[in-house]
């Protein structure tokens, strides 16, 4: 089984006597309300998905991540994982109880540092831009100026109502892969319904490994992204009919989306390594938004690391489409078609227009069962 990033699968979920002790400490501690991203980060740290992180970053780590794409100890780490203060006045060494927006206790922070960091510098380093229109920059500008760092413990898991049967921790997926006898597992990250192009990538990948984990992101996304609830119906339907039962698993990835393009691709890959995956699919404009990143920047960034710095291997794919000449899915690497009119590909805008009108996109673009779910969801949204 592939090792966790940094060598050790972290577990910061408190149980038994330790939890009792920490609950007593939390009761006496000031309470800090986490936003949706911070809640998902706390959960991801707790279950070990963010190994080797054991808490929210301090200034040394953040500075190193922003400027060198590595933690202060040199371990590759591409994204900021920070906790913003919202008026809590605690001293270093004290505890802070972490609560959700309903004031439900989630965890405990053992405060090791309070600090400020230049948000524009953080945005340029991690997101590649400090343009206010970028959703990641918007987020940074919306949170407080002071960060709180320290190790965290999860005392109560966040309450989920979505995809409750698909929530597996890294420890659980590792047991699952072992039980299935899979040595090599490819992860597919997605925040969209799976259309034919993505189905093609995942099946190409599955040809060379033992198993495929469809691992859709179900944390916070932009309001105009298709909801995780609708996407889950699409995945279930697609897997039920068009994928082999014994080679594919569906589980959810509770992280919030950062839209950080290449750096987030590295983030997504490392975290899937923690889930026990050996391979990771990187397509075009992975984790991109708008035109902030080059089409294949998210593939190229992996070449900037040394061969031993990231254990999970990427499988890079070009833009895929239906090739009318060959009568099959293809990419520019494999297509017989050269004329654009022989390549069936629809823009996201065009697909949305068709779905809103109740029209199924061509079968070469999306499976009819998936199209019907999306049409229904758009119709019910319009009727609200």
């Amino acid at each position: 089984m592939i090792a966790a990033h940094g060598g050790r699968l972290v577990n910061r979920i408190a149980e038994g006597a330790l939890r009792d002790d920490l609950l007593a400490r939390a009761k006496k501690a000031p309470r800090l309300t986490l936003n949706a991203r911070e809640v998902s980060d706390l959960e991801m740290i707790g279950i070990g998905a963010m190994s080797p992180l054991e808490g929210f970053m301090g200034s040394y780590d953040l500075g190193s991540v922003v400027n060198n794409c590595r933690l202060a100890n040199g371990t590759v780490w591409p994204m900021a994982v920070t906790l913003s203060n919202k008026g809590v006045d605690a001293k270093i060494g004290e505890d802070i109880a972490l609560v959700d927006e309903n004031d439900e206790l989630l965890g405990l922070l053992e405060l090791s540092e309070r600090y400020s960091f230049d948000k524009s510098e953080e945005a340029r380093g991690c997101l590649g831009t400090d343009d206010d229109a970028h959703p990641g920059v918007k987020y940074l500008k919306s949170i407080g100026d002071e960060y709180l760092a320290g190790t965290t413990w999860v005392l109560n898991m966040p309450k989920h109502t979505l995809a409750t049967n698909y929530r597996l921790t890294p420890r659980e997926t590792r047991v699952l892969f072992k039980a299935k006898g899979w040595d090599t597992i490819v992860a597919f990250q997605t925040r969209n319904p799976i259309h034919r192009a993505h189905e093609y990538l995942t099946k190409c990948a599955l040809e060379i490994v033992d198993g495929l984990m469809i691992h859709p992101l179900v944390g916070e996304t932009k309001s105009d992204d298709i909801s995780a609830e609708v996407r889950m119906k699409c995945y279930e339907t697609l897997l039920d009919k068009y994928y082999p039962d014994d080679r594919v698993v569906l589980a959810v990835y509770p992280q919030a989306m950062r839209y950080a393009g290449p750096r987030e691709a590295v983030f997504h890959a490392i975290l899937r390594q923690n889930y026990g995956c050996t391979h990771f699919i990187v397509g075009r404009d992975h984790a991109g938004v708008g035109d902030y990143y080059g089409t294949y920047d998210a593939q190229a960034i992996f070449d900037t690391f040394g061969p031993d710095e990231i254990a999970i291997k990427t499988l890079n794919f070009e833009h895929a489409f239906w090739d009318k000449i060959a009568g099959a899915m293809a990419s520019n690497k494999t297509a017989a078609a050269t004329d654009p009119s022989d390549k069936v590909f629809l823009s996201g805008t065009k697909v949305r227009e068709m779905l809103v009108k109740g029209e199924r996109p061509p079968i070469e673009f999306t499976r009819p069962e998936v199209a019907d779910i999306l049409i229904d969801s758009m119709a019910s949204k319009a009727s609200v």
């Binding site: 001293k91 060494g93 597996l168």
Partner: protein, 76 residues
């Protein structure tokens, strides 16, 4: 009962801690000592002395529990 107790340390060490924490964010040598000791003998130490409470590989019983959960969810 007072939840805190007094621990005596050599004065030179105390004075050295006072120097170390200057401008560090620790408000007193006591805060610093509590932080260091908690790190040293608290949660992290549990991983070594009481592995069931810290980060470590899953035990056979836990793996069995996970397998049961995976079976119940239809994964196995």
């Amino acid at each position: 009962m007072n939840p805190k107790v007094t621990v005596k340390i050599p004065r030179p060490l105390y004075e050295r801690i006072q120097q170390v924490i200057e401008d560090s964010g620790f408000s007193s040598p006591t805060d610093f000592v509590v932080f260091v000791l908690r790190d040293l003998v608290g949660d992290r130490a549990l991983e070594k002395t009481e592995p069931e409470k810290g980060a470590r590989a899953a035990t056979n019983d836990e793996i069995d529990d996970i397998r049961r959960k995976l079976e119940n969810l239809g994964y196995l």
